[in-house]
Symmetry: C2
Subunit: 237 residues, 2 copies
């Protein structure tokens, strides 16, 4: 089934590829996927045959640990390009879990590699995307290694807010955002337990910084949230 609505997203990824070519062979193998909440798109160690553009919904990219828990690597938001592996890498290094119901556009990994061969600018473009992800990954390392629980959570929420803002999923000045993450998932991202995440959320509520709704989150004091999390706006893509 062709995905009409994800045309926009595909253009974003392939903006550097001549459009005649896109109409061509490769895109025939582009498919839309729907995935309900709590289901995996792929798992760590699995053969990496596809890459995806997330069109709608949120996903958690994470790595499992031996004791059964997991460490979140990134919350994928609509527009994110996930699951790409360079040629020669056989398996995914992480798992991708649907946080809410999601819609994705899938590309064959080998199709992408072939396109990269023909359109060198595509590789440069993907490089830039990867470089951004790397920067946010380093941001996360800084938080996990050196920040308190409250700072990490504030940082994460502020980051998500600005990412949505930057891709115009939120209006400028809007104080309420969709928020499908459970406290357990927040904990996965911040290296905390669900219990402690809860305590921190209460504190942030009591401080008048934010107010959770069902599946949504009101940001009551964005400035304070940014200050607590020590978020540097320029680092957010």
């Amino acid at each position: 089934m062709q995905c009409a609505s994800c045309e926009i997203r595909r253009r974003a990824l392939f903006q550097v590829v001549p459009s005649e070519y896109i109409q061509d062979a490769q895109t025939k193998r582009t498919h839309q996927y729907d995935l309900p909440a709590r289901r995996h798109l792929y798992e760590e160690g699995q053969a990496a045959s596809m890459a995806y553009t997330l069109y709608d919904g949120w996903m958690l990219l994470y790595r499992a640990i031996s004791s059964g828990g997991r460490q979140g690597l990134r919350i994928a938001l609509p527009g994110d390009f996930i699951g790409f592996m360079p040629e020669g890498e056989a398996a995914y290094h992480h798992s991708a879990l649907a946080v809410s119901n999601v819609v994705l556009c899938g590309f064959g990994q080998s199709d992408l590699h072939e396109m990269i061969d023909r359109h060198s600018q595509l590789s440069v473009h993907i490089n830039r995307i990867q470089s951004r992800y790397m920067a946010s990954c380093q941001d996360a390392m800084l938080g996990l290694g050196r920040k308190t629980a409250e700072q990490r959570i504030a940082h994460l929420i502020a980051e998500l807010y600005f990412r949505l803002l930057n891709r115009h999923s939120l209006q400028d000045g809007e104080t309420s955002m969709p928020f499908p993450l459970t406290q357990e998932l927040l904990g996965d991202m911040t290296g905390l337990t669900a219990v402690h995440t809860n305590r921190v959320m209460r504190k942030l509520r009591e401080e008048g910084v934010l107010e959770p709704q069902r599946q949504r989150l009101d940001i009551l004091d964005l400035e304070k949230l940014v200050a607590i999390g020590e978020l540097r706006r320029r680092d957010v893509e």
Copy 2:
């Protein structure tokens, strides 16, 4: 001053570029740099005009935090390609500090971008390098978020050991490695204080896992080290 010895390394980076071209214009602007221990190669926020191949010595890549400390992102070992930024990125996102005396080969960032334009395979190659760094960055996130101090330190040391082994800086089966990191730097990498790092190192010594020498480290029980750190060998480049 031209760098004869870094010819090997340059080939590693440019292995995908026709050799006639390498003899050409760009490489004229390749220079060797020597930097004494404790000096910065570049700092966060600085204009990213150069990228480097580390030829000799160890470096710490890190990001500073507001309270004055720092979070290590990666220990760069001989052969590592550092400081590259995709076209359009103006400033480094992290700082690079020489741990020991180091020797580097520098390339102009814009020269690299130009080469990438002409030789698309170079971009693919850099992509692969970045992807590896990303994987080890995610490894670190997992440690910082979910592992104990002992696990993190064991993981880091084992990782460094295998990285040296993989690039033949160590012989197979050799149990002693060069180790210019102070306990403070170990702490920077693992998100611990120097004091606590010390306690963990003592524990590892008492358990007969390792034995520090001056500027060197003896691995007495590699298997145990790997087990404690839960290192997955296949994830190490």
